[in-house]
């Protein structure tokens, strides 16, 4: 047997979380990291400051060429990669910015998943290949002004009129809502909650951009208003039935967040490690002070534990054994870990940490959205509580 040398941990992958990844997953990770560092990172602070993505179509095309949209879906022009590979892509994108990972989550995990799971063959053929290629953008409208954590209380209604449907209501906080070519809209019907495909430009449908956000600024968020929107019979997603349909899509997107949060955390930790090593106060690098070392230790533990959590949930998913409570665990644990890391990393940066010259405050405020959408921290705590006690405390 050949002698194996024990090497000290790599500060950038302390527990060697990535060491057992097969070649394909490594290739996908490296490709996304390379793309993100070259094409996204140099621009993201400007986009964040401007409070928008200036060229969403160009960005969608670039993501489409890479193959990241719906990458874990098989067929219809999608790559058919593993759940872990999809997770790695989310991790590397969110290491740049949560808003950019959100772009991919909404397109791939929410809009495309809804069409893939519940759409007719015609709907799939019409939308999925173009969405995979980034030629068409989709959004996902579930939340309303008066219904967030409790989507079952939605007021948007679709009623039958002959063979047509007529849609009335308002959706709120819809990522990519004003740039989408097609909105997947959830509405109450006489037959329970159902999904509809509403193309942009349909008479009576307007999208209004939401301004004054202090979080997820490198992302477009909109309000969707439906005022007597007449839709043909084939706008209905025929397979959708009940609240479980949109919730199953959210579960896919949340899975991406479990990984994405690791990326945001890692980026903050790495920025802090680098800053602490070069910033000198009291005659030496601040990395040499005990309090700073405690911060770095806390951060490296959070980043690696979150990384392991994501990988384990990914492996469960690839084995077909991932329950939605596993995903709740991952979102609850990893987003909170990322928030701790971001806050700590920001403190290490002193005054520099409050600017866009460094990524830490940007990540820190982005994570407020990440902790809120796709089920708030509280709701995931409640679903974990329900899972371990068998008692529902919230519905």
């Amino acid at each position: 047997m050949s002698e194996r040398r024990i090497t000290p941990p790599d500060p950038h992958d302390f527990l060697a979380v990535d060491s057992a990844l097969p070649a394909e997953e490594r290739a996908i990770r490296d490709t996304v990291r390379d793309f993100a560092e070259r094409e996204l990172l140099p621009n993201v602070a400007d986009w964040f400051e401007a409070g928008t993505i200036p060229d969403p179509r160009g960005l969608a095309k670039a993501f489409g060429d890479l193959g990241v949209f719906g990458m874990h879906v098989a067929g219809y022009g999608c790559a058919g990669a593993s759940a872990v590979a999809y997770g790695l892509a989310c991790r590397e994108l969110e290491a740049v910015d949560s808003g950019l990972r959100s772009f991919v989550s909404v397109q791939g995990s929410l809009a495309m998943t809804a069409i893939h799971k519940f759409g007719s063959e015609d709907q799939k053929q019409k939308w999925l290949p173009r969405m995979a290629a980034g030629e068409a953008i989709g959004c996902f409208g579930l939340t309303e002004p008066d219904s967030g954590s409790d989507p079952g209380a939605m007021r948007t209604r679709a009623r039958r009129d002959g063979s047509d449907w007529v849609l009335d209501g308002t959706k709120m906080w819809i990522t990519n809502g004003s740039v989408a070519d097609v909105a997947v809209v959830w509405a109450a019907t006489d037959d329970g909650i159902r999904g509809f495909l509403v193309p942009a430009g349909t008479p009576g449908f307007t999208a209004n951009v939401i301004h004054k956000k202090l979080s997820l600024r490198a992302s477009v968020t909109a309000e969707l208003v439906f005022d007597g929107v007449r839709l043909p019979a084939d706008a209905l997603l025929p397979g959708s039935k009940g609240l479980g349909s949109p919730l199953s899509c959210l579960n896919e997107a949340r899975y991406g967040i479990v990984w994405g949060a690791v990326g945001a955390a890692r980026a903050c930790y790495e920025a802090a490690l680098e800053y602490a090593g070069t910033r000198e106060q009291f005659g030496g690098p601040i990395a040499g002070f005990q309090l700073t070392q405690r911060k770095l230790a806390d951060m490296v533990v959070d980043v690696n534990q979150a990384g392991l959590t994501a990988l384990q949930i990914g492996r469960l998913k690839d084995a077909g054994a991932c329950h939605h409570n596993h995903v709740s665990f991952g979102k609850f644990a990893n987003v909170a870990a990322a928030q701790r890391v971001a806050r700590t990393a920001r403190s290490v940066h002193g005054a520099n940490g409050i600017t866009l010259e460094y990524p830490v405050l940007r990540h820190m405020v982005n994570l407020e959205t990440v902790a809120t959408y796709e089920g708030t921290e509280e709701i995931h705590a409640l679903s974990i509580g329900q899972s371990v006690t068998g008692i529902s405390a919230f519905r």
């Binding site: 070649a23 394909e24 290739a27 996908i28 890479l66 990458m71 790559a79 058919g80 990669a81």
Partner: protein, 259 residues
């Protein structure tokens, strides 16, 4: 038109590179291997030419087992198949021996055009393309910033200090490319997923008819006699601007022969 792209795996320029003290050769295990940057431009050009003229793109790599990662990346960018020349006997081969070995390996593939990067980031000799063309007895078109193929005629813009020369030849030919030529694509996930199904032919030196006496460290035509770490950077010179800062800056550049 069938194209062979020569792809070399080199140590990542972003990491610290080391020579091995045993035999003064590059320690390829000490740092991550990546595709030599200019070879990515060569791959891109081959793919663009295939998109225009049809045919197949074959990757040819000479290097140890770990070069498989680079081959896989080239296949993930869109190359059709690969030939991997790997043999203990090749260890320590210099640029001329490498060109000889590659010329023999090319004998196992049908091609109309060979494309390669004009130099590698590790050795930076820049002679492999020329030596290879010589061994093959084919025209060499070096430092190409633009390539056009029309039937069996090939025309390139060869980048020079003063602009470019237009150089023409008949296929088959060897073309080395410079960075200006294109913008290499990212591998796509779909192609990454397909890469492992693409054929990779492993060649030992005997399979390619390579004479063991013509390759390897012991037979190299050049020798690394010694090496030393680069000296630490000397402190910079501070020039006080007393109204003549521009003149001083120009003098400095002239002294260093930049202007």
């Amino acid at each position: 038109m069938n194209i062979v792209v020569l792809v070399k795996q080199v140590p990542d320029t972003a990491t610290e590179r080391k020579l091995s003290s045993d035999d003064n050769t590059l320690d390829r295990a000490a740092s991550d291997g990546v595709i030599n940057e200019l070879d990515e431009y060569a791959i891109e050009e081959a793919l663009l030419l295939r998109e225009k003229h049809g045919g197949e793109v074959t990757v040819l790599t000479m290097g140890p087992d770990q070069a498989t990662d680079s081959i896989r990346k080239a296949l993930s960018m869109g190359a059709d198949k690969a030939v991997h020349l790997s043999d203990e006997a090749l260890h320590g081969s210099d640029a001329l021996q490498t060109a000889y070995a590659l010329s023999k390996a090319l004998g196992t593939v049908e091609f109309d055009l060979v494309v390669l990067g004009s130099e590698s980031t590790d050795a930076r000799t820049g002679v492999v393309g020329a030596a290879l063309a010589e061994y093959l007895g084919l025209p060499q078109l070096t430092l190409a910033g633009k390539v056009d193929v029309d039937g069996s005629a090939i025309k390139v813009q060869r980048q020079t200090d003063y602009g470019y020369d237009v150089v023409e030849a008949q296929l088959p030919a060897v073309v080395s490319v410079v960075e200006k030529i294109n913008e290499p694509r990212y591998p796509s996930f779909k192609l990454i997923m397909q890469a492992k199904k693409k054929p990779v032919q492993k060649l030992a030196i005997a399979d390619a008819g390579i004479d063991a006496a013509g390759v390897g460290l012991a037979n190299a035509t050049t020798e690394t006699v010694d090496f030393a770490a680069a000296p630490p950077r000397a402190a910079g010179t501070v020039v006080q601007d007393e109204g003549d800062g521009g003149v001083k800056a120009a003098d400095f550049l002239a002294e260093k022969k930049f202007v």
